[in-house]
């Protein structure tokens, strides 16, 4: 079955969406991410959508769901690389992706996630 690859890089999951997704593929990705977080104990999820030419309400909801589910499982999600035309359209559509952290580039997204991981360990130390 057709799937969007979920890559593991240390404590992070990397996902690059490069195809025009039909709805079932988007739902499959949602399942795969949660499964991988629990299997690998990932603490961050980076989703690169720079190749996506549109984000409609369905894809928007999928991104929000992944962020929410990951958070419950102890992982932060950052969505990176949204094209300006996509951002304009998404807001006009009525979605501003509340609850989803975003960054302009993969690099900036990585920094956010590594920052979140470091903060986490520091907190643990201060608690101990």
């Amino acid at each position: 079955m057709e799937r969007i690859p979920v890559l593991r890089m240390g404590p992070l999951l990397l996902i690059t969406i490069q195809v025009d997704m039909h709805d079932k593929l988007a739902l499959q990705l949602q399942d795969d991410v949660t499964e991988k977080i629990s299997e690998w104990g990932s603490t961050g999820v980076l989703i690169d959508i720079s190749s996506l030419e549109i984000v409609d309400s369905f894809i928007g909801r999928m991104l929000a769901n992944i962020a929410a589910m990951s958070r419950v499982l102890g992982a932060e999600t950052v969505v990176v690389g949204m094209q300006p035309a996509v951002a304009i359209t998404l807001v006009e559509l009525g979605m501003s992706l509340p609850g989803v952290r975003t960054a302009l580039s993969v690099e900036a997204g990585m920094e956010l996630l590594y920052g979140a991981i470091t903060d986490g360990t520091e907190n643990e130390r201060s608690e101990a």
């Binding site: 030419e53 304009i88 006009e92 979605m95």
Partner: protein, 134 residues
């Protein structure tokens, strides 16, 4: 106003929504819409095609290239033979959903185009027409 080109695509399965998006993109590029306008048209097509599939049990999309004087435009008509919409005004409100969605499909799509109309008869089906001018 004249119709320069007319195509009808089925919307019966999930992948037909992807094909509908690609057709609208192709025509929007041919009509030399700006990138933002292309994105708005394709996003509206995606929402409306999904509505026809999920709520209308499938149907079709008709796309027309319009010429009105010196102006060109793209018209999209989504038709289904589903249960119809009893209260169109309510269906257009943001946040109203009959399914599991976010309820942005109809109202959101309306904001992405210049002209928008819904004709619906309960038990017979729904026709949504959307036009964006260049």
């Amino acid at each position: 106003m004249s119709v320069q080109k007319r195509e009808v695509l089925p919307i019966k399965v999930s992948n037909d929504v992807v094909i509908a998006r690609q057709k609208v993109r192709q025509l929007a590029v041919e009509l030399r819409f700006s990138l933002v306008d292309q994105t708005k048209l394709v996003t509206a097509a995606s929402e409306l095609a999904r509505n026809a599939l999920d709520h209308g049990r499938g149907g079709s999309m008709t796309v027309e290239v319009l010429i009105n004087g010196g102006r060109s435009g793209l018209k999209m008509i989504f038709e289904d033979q589903g249960p119809g919409i009893a209260d169109i005004e309510q269906a257009l409100k943001d946040g109203y959903t009959s399914g599991g969605g976010m309820g942005l499909g109809l109202g959101g799509s309306k904001r992405l185009v210049n002209e928008f109309s819904i004709e619906s008869e309960v038990g017979k089906g729904t026709r949504v027409t959307a036009v964006r001018w260049r």
